[in-house]
């Protein structure tokens, strides 16, 4: 079998090597030159960072360092403020609301658990099977659509 594979490889290799280059479309050159001109006409701030003037690059780096410093200072200020009692009181209200929401969701979970135990197990298995069947059906439809579109 390997000999036949080698023979086929040689044959196809020879056929493909004899192929001349394909002709590029005549419009390609104009298209590339047009794109080069379009990019060259862009203002410097819309080009990539590597094409920015030296001065602008240095200015941007300094500005970014300034922004980082400001952000760090703001973080420090926020941390200090949270510790003060006035801010702590302001935060307590949303925390209370979260506690209430959490106890309500716990009650709902308990009620749901009781409900699940009340349902006969056959119904649960049937529901699971139905869900599984719908999942498989949707998966099949998706695969069929993919094959139809990619024929």
């Amino acid at each position: 079998m390997n000999e036949r594979h080698d023979e086929l490889e040689r044959l196809i290799g020879r056929v493909l090597r004899e192929q001349p280059l394909r002709q590029a479309p005549p419009s390609l050159e104009a298209r590339v030159l047009g794109e080069i001109e379009r990019r060259a006409a862009l203002p410097w701030w819309r080009k990539s960072f590597a094409y920015w003037p030296q001065l602008a690059r240095v200015a941007l780096v300094i500005a970014l360092i300034g922004v980082v410093k400001l952000a760090l200072q703001a973080l420090v200020w926020l941390t200090m403020s949270v510790r003060s009692s006035q801010v702590a009181t302001a935060i307590e209200q949303p925390v209370d609301w979260i506690h209430t929401a959490s106890s309500v969701s716990r009650s709902l979970a308990t009620a749901a658990e009781a409900l699940v135990y009340a349902i006969p197990p056959q119904w649960l298995y049937l529901g699971l099977l139905l869900g599984l069947a719908m999942y498989v059906a949707l998966f099949g439809v998706g695969a069929a659509v993919y094959r139809t579109l990619n024929k």
């Binding site: 086929l8 056929v15 001349p20 280059l21 394909r22 590029a24 590339v32």
Partner: protein, 165 residues
């Protein structure tokens, strides 16, 4: 650009199997070359540089595009194919000898374009770009046995197409 555009376009077109995508990739390749114009202007290896760039850009494009559809594509392939293709060696030395050169070349290009991506891409990388099986498998991120099977299937499919009158 005129000296290299057919080579760059051919590489992209044979790999993608799609002329519109090949034109986009060719354009990007020449824009990249323009960015490196100072380095390439006097370089005797400009052609090799362009070939490497267009091959890498096209393979990246194919791999990125493939990943989006890989799941369904693998599913379909698994259904449609066995492990090892059976074939009777179908191509005699006189393949398409009754056609003139232009028709024969056109017929072969069409047959190549008609192959599915997972067969055409490794076949083109092996026969046109002279890449080894190992390099192709690494670039396409597939296993070596699968690559060899895909290339063999591609050759068989190509040979069968060429055999038809």
């Amino acid at each position: 650009m005129r000296a290299y555009q057919n080579m760059v376009f051919s590489t992209a077109a044979r790999l993608t199997g799609n002329d519109a995508q090949a034109q986009d990739i060719t354009q990007e390749t020449f824009l990249k070359a323009y960015e490196n114009f100072d380095m390439l202007r006097q370089s005797p290896t400009a052609g090799g540089w362009l070939k490497t760039v267009v091959t890498r850009m096209t393979v990246n494009y194919i791999v990125r595009h493939r990943n989006r559809w890989r799941f369904f594509a693998d599913l379909r392939r698994a259904e449609a194919e066995d492990d090892e293709p059976d074939f009777d060696l179908p191509v005699p030395d006189t393949t398409l000898a009754d056609l003139d050169d232009a028709d024969r070349h056109e017929r072969i290009e069409q047959a190549l374009q008609g192959l599915p991506d997972h067969q055409r891409v490794p076949l083109v990388l092996f026969h046109f770009e002279d890449m080894s099986y190992e390099d192709i498998a690494r670039q396409l991120r597939i296993s070596l046995p699968k690559l060899k099977t895909d290339i063999l299937r591609g050759r068989v499919a190509l040979a069968r197409t060429l055999e038809r009158p």
